[in-house]
C-alpha cells in the first residue's frame, strides 16, 4: 500500500450528550456542546429528557457555519424570543419519541453549538439533550470489516 492510501469512512454509532441543570426561571442560560475532535459527527436523531416541560431552548451553530438552528418564526416578534418548547423539539427514545431530523447533518469535529435554556417552571430543571448519529471515522481502505 502506498503512502497515498485511500481512505474510507466507518460510521461508528455515537451519542453526544448535553447534560445540565437549569436553575428555576433562568433566562437564556448558556451551555455549549462541542463535537469531539476525533471525527466529524453525522447527526440523525435528537432525543430530549427534562424534568419539567416549561423549558425553552435556542440552538446556534458557531464558527464558520454561524447559523441559528432554532429561529423565530413570527413577525413581528412582540415578546423576547427564547426558543422552542423542549417538548416540541424532541422526546425520549424509550417512548419512541426521538426526533428524526430527516436529512442527516454533518457537524464538523471541534465545532461548538451554543444552547440557551429558558425555564418558566421556577424549579430546577434537569435536562439532557442527546444527539444520536455516527462518528465519521476515517480509516485506511480495507482496514475495516465494513462501513
Amino acid at each position: 500500500m502506498s503512502n497515498g492510501a485511500q481512505q474510507e469512512i466507518v460510521k461508528v454509532p455515537r451519542v453526544i450528550v448535553l447534560d445540565l441543570s437549569v436553575t428555576g426561571s433562568a433566562i437564556q442560560l448558556p451551555a455549549v456542546l462541542t463535537v469531539p475532535s476525533d471525527a466529524d459527527f453525522e447527526w440523525w436523531f435528537l432525543a430530549a429528557f427534562r424534568t419539567d416541560a416549561r423549558l425553552k431552548v435556542l440552538i446556534k451553530e458557531t464558527g464558520v457555519g454561524s447559523r441559528d438552528i432554532i429561529q423565530t418564526g413570527i413577525t413581528p416578534q412582540t415578546a423576547g424570543f427564547n426558543g422552542i418548547l423542549i417538548d416540541n423539539l424532541a422526546g425520549l427514545v424509550a417512548s419512541n419519541g426521538a426526533f428524526p431530523i430527516a436529512v442527516p447533518y454533518v457537524m464538523p469535529a471541534n465545532r461548538t453549538y451554543q444552547h440557551l435554556f429558558t425555564d418558566t417552571s421556577t424549579a430546577t430543571n434537569v435536562v439532557q439533550l442527546a444527539y444520536h448519529g455516527f462518528a465519521l471515522l476515517s480509516v485506511p481502505a480495507g482496514s475495516s470489516s465494513g462501513s
Binding site: 438552528i69 432554532i70 415578546a79 422552542i84 417538548d87 422526546g91 431530523i101 430527516a102 436529512v103 442527516p104
Partner: protein, 168 residues
C-alpha cells in the same frame, strides 16, 4: 393460450383488495408518521445532503378566544417537512390554525384545523412524504398563519415549521 399485450392487468385489483397495503412496510413500521429513514440507513430525502435542520417557531400568548395573525419569514432554499404544535391549555382542543403560502397564494389548511389534528410534538411528528420547497423567487418568501385560541383562558401557544435549508 398466449396472453394479449392488451389484456387487463389482473394483479391490480388484487392488490387493491388487500386489507394491508404491501407498500406500507417501507421504512420503520413502528411509526408511520416518522418514516424518514429507509431500511439500510438512507434518508427518504436522498439528494438533499448538506442541508441543515431549521425549526421556525411562532411563540405567542393569547387571551381567551383571541386570534393572532403573523407570518414565518423563511430562509432561502427552505424545504418544509413537518408541523409541530403545542398549547399550555388544552381542554377543548387548544387552538385552531390556518397556514397560507403567500407566494403561491395557496392555503395548506382548507379550513381552520385543530392543533391535535394539524401537528404533533417532538415525540410524535408527522413528516410530509414529499419535501415542499417554498417558492423563494419571491423577494420575501413567507408562510402566513392565523391562530385562534379555543380556550376560555390565557394560552401559551407554539406553532412550529420544521424543515431543512439546502446549500446554495
Amino acid at each position: 393460450m398466449a396472453t394479449s399485450p392488451n389484456a387487463p392487468q389482473l394483479m391490480l385489483p388484487r392488490l387493491l383488495n388487500l386489507l394491508v397495503n404491501p407498500f406500507a412496510t417501507f421504512g420503520f413500521p413502528a411509526n408511520f408518521q416518522k418514516n424518514i429513514y429507509t431500511r439500510g440507513g438512507a434518508s427518504a430525502y436522498s439528494g438533499m445532503e448538506g442541508a441543515n435542520p431549521v425549526w421556525l417557531t411562532a411563540d405567542v400568548t393569547l387571551g381567551a378566544f383571541k386570534t393572532a395573525r403573523g407570518h414565518f419569514p423563511l430562509p432561502y432554499n427552505f424545504y418544509l417537512l413537518a408541523f409541530l404544535a403545542s398549547a399550555s391549555v388544552n381542554a377543548v382542543g387548544g387552538f385552531r390554525g390556518v397556514l397560507y403560502d403567500t407566494t403561491r397564494r395557496l392555503p395548506f389548511t382548507m379550513r381552520p384545523c385543530t392543533m391535535g389534528s394539524l401537528a404533533g410534538q417532538g415525540n410524535s411528528p408527522m413528516f410530509a412524504g414529499v419535501p415542499y420547497r417554498v417558492d423563494d423567487t419571491a423577494r420575501e418568501p413567507k408562510i402566513k398563519f392565523t391562530i385562534y385560541n379555543l380556550e376560555n383562558e390565557q394560552n401559551l401557544i407554539e406553532l412550529v415549521l420544521y424543515g431543512v435549508q439546502t446549500p446554495d
